[in-house]
């Protein structure tokens, strides 16, 4: 009985947030239809959700699609989650993702004819290194100058977009095509394992999640990261170096997001255009928040958002509801999570864990209240 109560305490808030956001989604669909086309059509909302569900888990192909969508979200969520645990807000997952993909495509093109057993690991490694560099920069800046990662990582996101465009239009452009496009990565592609598009990344990501859990909760390094995230002053007192931990954490977080970009490139598109990009980076934030920076929670949240993303295409085609609705749903889930004290009162939940403990640290370092030394 006590176990069930503990499970409920952890799961209650996210569950309620999800349900409330579904309701909000219905309202948004109906209201906007009313506003834009002056039609009152509640059936549209039902069509939308039905399409969403069938498009995500209705068929075997849909399920595989969901898993494929969930993979970069899982890795991205781990990236943001690790940063959260360290008291950092990695909004730069987007840029790290892109640079990781860029590095992967650059390496993959070189290795496209090499034996698979060499091409895949090296290309993956290139992506990880690219992402790590893109995470290292804001980490270093934060540790040395105190420049808050919220602003620097967002700036780097834009720089990443520009860099990607420049590279694809320049050195990486394959000759013989009108618009900038790279060659495909050949043997450096991740093999398809399930169905039509289920690539090997589907298996890699959960493995990384397990490693993440192990690192965070069973190792001394994980302990240090969590202490630095919860209280940098106490970390110094304990003989740790918050400065080094910040750099380490941002670099590893960047590496994870870079891995997300690399697997996505190697498994799905296999080449790159100048406008390559998704909103995975921001979705990863939602995944990490919903999953409470907990490895199992992140896996579940990634599956949920992956399902939404996968089904959104079907929703747009079949019901005519724009795919951006998924973004709205995500934001409302987060909103209800953040407003959890109010929800707790309304639903008379006691003992349910609210919000994010580490959150106060990244706000305090933003305002200079806690210095990283």
């Amino acid at each position: 009985m006590a176990l069930a109560r503990r499970a409920w305490a952890i799961v209650a808030l996210p569950l309620i947030a999800i349900i409330l956001s579904i309701i909000t989604g219905i309202i948004v669909i109906v209201a906007s239809e009313l506003l834009v086309r002056q039609q009152f059509n509640p059936g549209l909302a039902i069509d939308a959700y039905v399409a969403l569900i069938t498009g995500s888990i209705g068929t075997e192909a849909a399920i595989i699609n969901t898993l494929v969508s969930a993979t970069p979200l899982l890795l991205g969520g781990l990236s943001v989650g690790l940063a959260f645990k360290a008291g950092l807000f990695n909004i730069g997952a987007q840029g790290q993702f892109l640079i990781g993909a860029l590095a992967a495509v650059a390496a993959g093109i070189q290795l496209r004819e090499s034996p698979v057993i060499v091409a895949i690991p090296l290309t993956l490694l290139a992506g990880m290194i690219g992402g790590a560099v893109w995470g290292f920069i804001p980490g270093l800046l934060k540790a040395t100058s105190g420049a808050h990662e919220v602003v620097t990582t967002i700036m780097l996101n834009f720089v990443a977009i520009a860099t990607l465009a420049a590279m694809v239009a320049g050195p990486l452009d394959s000759p013989g095509s009108a618009s900038p496009i790279t060659r495909d990565v050949g043997n450096a592609s991740l093999p398809i394992i399930f169905g039509r598009n289920g690539h090997a990344g589907i298996l890699i990501a959960p493995l990384i999640a397990v490693l993440y859990g192990f690192l965070m909760f069973r190792t001394t390094r994980g302990f240090e990261i969590r202490v630095a995230g919860a209280n940098p002053d106490a970390a110094r007192y304990a003989g740790m170096s918050p400065r080094r931990l910040v750099i380490w954490s941002m670099t590893v977080a960047g590496m994870l997001a870079g891995m997300a970009g690399a697997t996505e490139l190697m498994g799905v598109t296999r080449h790159m255009t100048a406008s390559y990009g998704t909103t995975v980076g921001f979705d990863a934030i939602a995944v990490a928040l919903l999953g409470r920076t907990n490895p199992l929670g992140i896996v579940l949240a990634a599956l949920l958002f992956g399902a939404m993303r996968s089904g959104s295409a079907a929703m747009q085609i079949q019901a005519g509801v724009p795919a951006e609705l998924v973004g709205v749903l995500q934001a409302t889930i987060l909103f209800f999570l953040v407003a959890s004290p109010v929800i707790q009162r309304v639903f008379r939940l006691r003992g349910a864990q609210a919000g994010l403990d580490e959150a106060s640290t990244f706000t305090r370092t933003y305002s200079g209240d806690a210095a990283i030394r």
């Binding site: 069973r218 190792t219 001394t220 390094r221 302990f223 969590r226 202490v227 919860a230 209280n231 002053d233 106490a234 110094r236 007192y237 304990a238 003989g239 403990d357």
Partner: protein
């Protein structure tokens, strides 16, 4: 601004302030239980009680920051219902808080007028008029104040004067002072007492909240003692003494001084030579300190906060890089070595700010218990932690040091202050130590916890550890230390024997650093006076 007319204290008038049957409940605790308090015009009335007895709650009720569940407040015999601080201020009640309610980056004038701004028109402030009034007010009570000085640059004693000016600017008739002497030297305390007596002579009523027995006996006209939310006695100073008051405060006979016995010091353990340390802004705040501590000896550092003590300790232990000098431990040079290696030499540090440095409040006691040892075997093998070993340690220490907690899994933040400090003590005291550094070890704790920690410290001393005690509570320093060093302006300005030390002498050193006289002009924080 005319002072109120002087009322002869023996005249039969309604008391200036009366609180009848005040009861205030918070979840799980009755902070005030049927409290009666009566203050006459021109009276200095002391409210005595230990930390957590309910004094602050009572004053919050008086100030309108909390509404009582039962009871009445009467001003000049008339019942009032206070809706908030504004209301209280308008009725002439002003409070000087224990932790100053001053905004450091704003000027003296801005701090004083905030909330009761002197205006030039509907929108803009009238700086000139405000400055003029403030200077005049200061003069009336014997000090020259610079209204444009930034409060953050003032010494603590001067900040307190600004707080009092704040109250007087609002024409307060009833002044409530919450632990006003907590951060003052004995000399500054005398100066504030002189100001208070002048205020009382002019007819103001003063409520003086404190836990310092001898001060209360010196300044008060009447003393009301509170314990656990109830009034347990009222005394006239002439009819009582420290022991009587202490017993009332705590409810049992209290040994005011821990029997510290004789110390038998051994070899020199810690040697500090010419240590220089800078603060966060790069100013040199430790200006060449020489100290020595022997094994089995307690050296206490007395000094007003802000004279470099924090930086001295941090520079000593490796949390701050010294700018010069040498620190040796048992002959080994540890100057500037990182914290962890210093700990490894057998040094432990109990920090002043336990929430900020000593604990991670959101983590369970198990994690907190290994905060400084988590990487050592048996708590970790390589990078792998051993949860079972950590748990066993935590359970053992909790038992050993009598930490009141339901289990070792609760978050440290849920414990009371005293128990939190016990956790830190349990963690740091429980191994063989060469040197133990205690920084404000009993700040904000109840008497029971204070006794406990003092006894533990003496025990450590008797076991041969050298102990460095830094405390703003001069009594604590004098009570525990075998030798006392006074720190002023970043230097050690005097060293005396702990037993034979004359409190006034030490206090004088703390206040002036051995130089002649004080100064009535607004000095800056380093103790020098503004040019």
């Amino acid at each position: 601004m005319e002072p109120p007319t002087v009322e002869a204290p023996t005249a039969v008038h309604a008391p200036a302030l009366e609180m009848r049957g005040i009861t205030k409940r918070y979840p799980g605790v009755v902070a005030n239980d049927q409290i009666d308090l009566e203050v006459r015009p021109g009276e200095i009335h002391a409210l005595l009680g230990e930390n957590g007895a309910g004094k602050t709650t009572l004053m919050n009720v008086l100030y309108g920051l909390a509404r009582p569940d039962e009871g009445q407040i009467l001003l000049d015999g008339e019942e009032v219902h206070l809706t908030g601080p504004s209301d209280a201020i308008h009725r002439g009640i002003s409070m000087v808080h224990q932790h100053f309610m001053l905004v450091p980056v704003l000027s003296v004038a801005e701090n004083i007028v905030l909330g009761e701004e002197t205006m030039a028109g509907p929108v803009f402030l009238d700086r000139k008029e405000a400055d003029r009034r403030i200077i005049e007010l200061g003069r009336r009570f014997g000090f020259e104040v610079d209204p444009e000085a930034k409060v953050g640059s003032l010494s603590v004693g001067w900040q307190q004067r600004v707080e009092i000016l704040k109250a007087l600017y609002r024409e307060a008739r009833i002044l409530v002072l919450d632990e006003p002497t907590a951060v003052l030297t004995p000399q500054e305390t005398e100066e504030i007492f002189a100001v208070l007596r002048r205020l009382a002579a002019e007819g103001h009523s003063i409520v003086f909240i404190s836990h310092k027995l001898y001060e209360v006996l010196e300044i008060a006209d009447r003393i009301t003692v509170i314990r656990r939310g109830r009034v347990v006695g009222q005394r006239l100073p002439a009819e009582t003494n420290e022991d009587d008051l202490a017993e009332l405060m705590v409810g049992r006979e209290v040994n005011l001084t821990v029997d510290r016995g004789e110390s038998s010091p051994g070899e020199t353990v810690l040697k500090i030579e010419g240590l220089r340390v800078n603060d966060d802004r790069g100013h040199e705040v430790v200006r060449g300190v020489d100290l020595q501590i022997r094994a089995g000896e307690i050296l206490g550092i007395a000094g007003v906060a802000g004279n470099g003590q924090d930086e001295l300790v941090e520079g000593l232990i490796g949390l701050r890089r010294p700018a010069g000098g040498r620190v040796t431990l048992n002959g080994k040079d540890i100057t500037g070595k990182p914290v962890r290696s210093v700990y490894g030499e057998g040094v432990a540090y109990v920090p002043a700010d336990r929430h900020r440095f000593g604990l991670v409040l959101s983590f369970p006691l198990t994690d907190n218990m290994v905060l400084t040892s988590y990487y050592q075997s048996p708590y970790a093998r390589g990078i792998l932690r051993d949860d079972a070993a950590i748990r066993a340690l935590a359970d053992e220490r909790i038992e050993q040091f009598d930490v009141r907690t339901p289990s070792a899994d609760v978050r440290a933040g849920t414990l009371s202050g005293g128990n939190q400090q016990k956790v830190i003590v349990a963690r740091e005291f429980a191994r063989d130590l060469q040197l133990l550094i205690l920084d404000q070890p009993t700040r904000g704790l109840d008497v029971g916890s204070i006794e406990f920690i003092h006894r533990q410290a003496i025990a450590k001393r008797d076991a041969g550890t050298a102990i460095l005690l830094v405390s703003a509570e001069l009594d604590e320093v004098l009570e525990l230390s075998d030798r006392v060093a006074v720190m002023y302006g970043g230097r050690i300005v005097g060293e005396v024997d702990g037993r034979s030390a004359n409190k006034n002498e030490v206090g004088l050193l703390m206040a002036t650093g051995g130089r002649e006289g004080g100064d009535a002009r607004t000095p800056d924080a380093s103790g020098g006076t503004a040019a």
